[in-house]
Symmetry: C3
Subunit: 213 residues, 3 copies
């Protein structure tokens, strides 16, 4: 069991926990909560694998399913306790996003695909589960929140790919650099409540005048 | 044409009808209604087959598509009449859920996968179509309703798997036991308006005190 | 590079633009906008390819991804200008829908599947991206709007298939007929604000009397 695998499982646990905590305001029962936790944990990687036409990772290795289910049940059981540490779990979720995205890049490149596909797969794997969670829970998806979610992934994955293509780092080292970059950016966004500057935000308020709408 | 096949088609019809009836308050046109009916009927099995990487069942056998389309059109034509029998169709839908879930278990086991995967595929097949229907119709998904939907599937499928693993019943007999268990639980939930006890419901109201939120 | 390919790329551009414009009221940042634009552009075809179990088109040919990304970024940069021409882009989107649907029919038939499957794939390819866009942006899906969206596709694809089956036209000619029919119907629906007549609209208001609900 290498470090990558252990971290993947840790990321799965973190995603499942955040899925369950997001379900708190909806008064789901224990089975519904588990469904949401598992889907949040494995959703992004599932979409990635289906689009890449490779076997779905949790079908191949059932331990991801087990980890997500146990994490969901434990979060259900100790939800008040865990909710008190919610902020801490946001950072664990950020680590999960970072790890899943950086690993998705390697998986995509290993199939002979290029950088553009690698970035797309990084984003899908990083935010796919969270988007399905939001849809299941009938709340606005993370895409429409002004939180920085996809941006840290794009920037970190871009760095990872640049280091790889320029032969500065080995694949394994580039993963670590990518994870570090994504995590740092996402964690900073959480801590400092960063939002994109207005210049990089689409607005329906016209600069000068807007005759329509 | 064996009994399983006939019942699968019946379940498809029932799902399509409930999809159309769910669309009633949205004033969809006849084509929109058909889209919703068909998606409700085949959605769960489609996700299951894609994740299992086997040919999608309604691509292989177009009769499922035909059944769902006809059911949707007939429900459109006689919607007031059928709506009067809505409660009766809820039980037909419950039978559909039971049958699809129990058959998904066999399909999953036949691929050499284990019990955990079988339970997950049972749940996906049983509620996947209904969730897509709710998303299309822009209403809260069945996951956030307090109705018992996934729970009867988990319990019934669990019984089915236990009977199989303990060699108490043959595969065919275990399917019947699973269908009976899921249907009985779901039908009882409808009839008695069962909800999960508070103990098994995630709450954001703390037991003692919650300093946050 | 044949005409079909050029038009497919044009349709991809148009879909991406409409995706970004739909995101205007949500104040997304540049990365979120790009995600929405790309998903809108390639979503429908992705679902089609996954269900048909053929390689996903934008994995095979990265230029679709490039086109969608560039269109999204340019729309972000010039969004006020482009929004002023929004109505014009609705027609471009209608052309995209028409082309994607008619081409999906040929792709489905080429796999040896029948007319029913071809219609379903036409509808999925034509409206799938728009539905995912609506879900991501947390707004009612185009299915529940009373706009005619799936109907022009069904009618136009039906014409295309009839002309093909009756050997009136070659495959290429039938595509053109299908595109023309879908586009004309959809463009008319936009221009004249057509809605389905009440007779073909599902209503929860009973004709005579409705004791329930």
């Amino acid at each position: 069991m290498d470090l990558t695998y252990i971290l993947s499982i840790a990321a799965t646990l973190a995603f499942s926990v955040t899925g369950v905590l997001a379900a708190r305001i909806q008064q789901l029962d224990i089975i519904g909560v588990t469904v949401v936790g598992v889907v949040t944990a494995v959703g992004g990687g599932t979409i990635r694998d289906i689009i890449l036409d490779v076997p779905v990772f949790w079908i191949v290795d059932g331990r991801y399913l087990l980890a997500a289910t146990l994490a969901a049940l434990l979060t259900f059981a100790f939800n008040d306790l865990i909710h008190r540490g919610y902020r801490w779990f946001l950072y664990m979720d950020a680590l999960g996003v970072a790890l899943f995205a950086a690993l998705a890049v390697m998986k995509t490149l290993a199939l002979g695909l290029g950088s553009a596909h690698a970035v797309v797969m990084g984003v899908i794997t990083g935010i796919g589960g969270g988007i399905i969670r939001d849809v299941l829970l009938d709340r606005p998806t993370l895409i429409v929140s002004r939180e920085l979610y996809a941006t840290p992934i794009c920037l970190g994955v871009g760095l990872q790919l640049a280091l790889l293509k320029l032969n500065v780092l080995s694949g394994q080292q580039a993963v670590i650099a990518g994870v570090a970059a994504i995590f740092t950016l996402r964690a900073s966004a959480i801590y400092f409540q960063w939002q994109m500057p207005d210049l990089l935000t689409l607005s329906n308020r016209p600069v000068a005048s807007n005759p329509e709408e």
